[in-house]
Amino acid sequence: MNAPPARARLFAGQPAAPGLVLGRVVQLANGARTSAPGPAGSERELVQAVAEAASQLRDLMTRCAAEARKILEFQVEFLSDPVLLEPAQEAIATGTDASTAWRAVIDVHIADFEASTDDYFRHRSGDLRDMRARVLALLAGDDIGPLRLPERAILLADDLEPSRFLATPWGTNHAIALRGGSPTAHVALLARARRVPMVVGVGDVAVHGECTAIVDGSKGTLVLEPDEDQVAGFARTRARLAATQIDEAAAAVRPARTASGERVDVLLNIASLGELAAIDPAICDGIGLVRTELLFAQGPPDEESQLAYYERILRWAGARPVIVRTLDAGGDKPMPGVTIDGEGNPFLGVRGVRLSFAAPDLFKVQLRALLRAAAAGNLRVLVPMITAAEEVQRVRALLAQAAAELAARGVPHAMPPLGIMIEVPAAALALDTFAVDFASIGSNDLLQYTMAAARDNPAVTPLTDPRHPGFVRLLQTIVQSAAARTLPLSLCGDLAAQPEHIPLLLSAGLRTLSMPAAAVGAVKRAIAAWPAGGGD
């Protein structure tokens, strides 16, 4: 009997782990392990099941990578906390069976996390569901074993427990599609680390009988019953992705060189400490931009807190330079209690260093913390939105005052090199008039100010083209002006993260670029390909 011609169905979810797999759909029946309420169980039964669950997880930990071990360790510690079962013991004493009592206890915590407005806490409910399932299975006498998937398989499930993911032997032709889930859930983090393509939140997908599917973990899509064109497209994309990934990963850890062998310094843009843990320090020559806006998100932090923050980044970077930008609020980054509300045109108003001058007490705290951090490592201070030479003098005077205050307190400190962001066209054209130690081009603002086209207004976006001869000439002018006085110059805007614009930046003469870590591999490849036909 022939089935009617298959109709491709596309389900758009969220990308959770990149990669592309075509395979047969294998369904995991969620909730099948939910047992019927047993007899009024003894308290000891539940205590034993929870202890056994912790012991199974400890055993699984010995076979896992460090990151996975930490996820499992949370479950082990949670299950081992004597506080956890206190409410259940009471329920059992009054005649409730062990499964129902366990469910009542753990569901309170699940509901508590799910109600959180914070994504990190909301998605920890997945770990609690994992514990719930394991203990319920043990109480029912079942075993949560690893999944055994055939070659080229796509696992379709409502959700997947992290411990089950870890117990399963994954192959390069396996992928996961979850009806629910989240890209920040632990199982998504594990899938990324283990390189199992995964898409989450595909919604109510029903599959009956044999079915092939394509998971695109980069796009976040699931295609059921793909047609011939889609299968052919899959094969082409997979081959290209595989080649690109290998090249980019290899390029990322090598120093950047142009095709003619010229060295280019690749620095990182950092917005929070959390990013650093996931970055291999070998991919960069230093940190070209530490944004400090997130640090101020919950109100201005005190000097000690700021110092601790800067020192942690310096420790990560070792001897390499760390360029910290002073608070850059205003414009498209309003900050409650700091920025001025109701300005007619915030991009042309009190933002960046102009705001720091308007709130000198706030600025001085940051300068003192930076002076103290400069005594601990290779720190440089970058000031945003500088327009006039006098502003640099004013920053230097404030730095000198802050240093004198620290000296009076007997606190160790050092005067860091001082640099400016080049965002204002007038500053770009008069770079020679600024008494600074280095400069960094903020290409996002410089471009929008030069083109008189806001970057957040889609109607004028086509005008913000960096290939405009006016912008190219401005870049060349900045590079020549810096070279004439051997002023170190870098570029830290979005342009440096876009491989297609790397030839433009290198042709203009730039040799130091700062970008988000995720862009490093692709950008280093673009650097190596420039100039076209150069090198051997």
Binding site: F74, S80, V83, R124, G274
Partner: protein, 92 residues
């Protein structure tokens, strides 16, 4: 009784892994140790993963510690240092 406070900068807040590290460190001390998000309390047993996790402390919050016992000063100092070092160097 020893007291201490520290600003939590860890990007994800006091979530699963930092809680495990913190409670494990707390358990290495004999003192009774409590943690709070506010100097007024409520004060939570710093050795209980279940309870500290339930605080759901976001990043950029201030954490308060207090400890009573023979090693109270060392306990508070160690916990403050742990948070300041972004939870690196805690017990394995």
């Amino acid at each position: 009784m020893a007291h201490g406070q520290v600003l939590l900068l860890h990007a994800a807040g006091l979530h699963a892994r930092p809680v495990v590290t913190l409670t494990k460190l707390a358990k290495t001390f004999a003192s009774r140790i409590h943690i709070a998000n506010d100097v007024q309390g409520p004060w939570i047993d710093a050795k209980s993963v279940v309870k500290v996790m339930s605080m759901k402390t976001p990043a950029n919050s201030r954490l308060f510690f207090r400890a009573e016992g023979t090693d109270a000063d060392a306990a508070v100092a160690a916990l403050v240092t742990l948070v300041n070092n972004d939870f690196l160097g805690g017990p394995e």
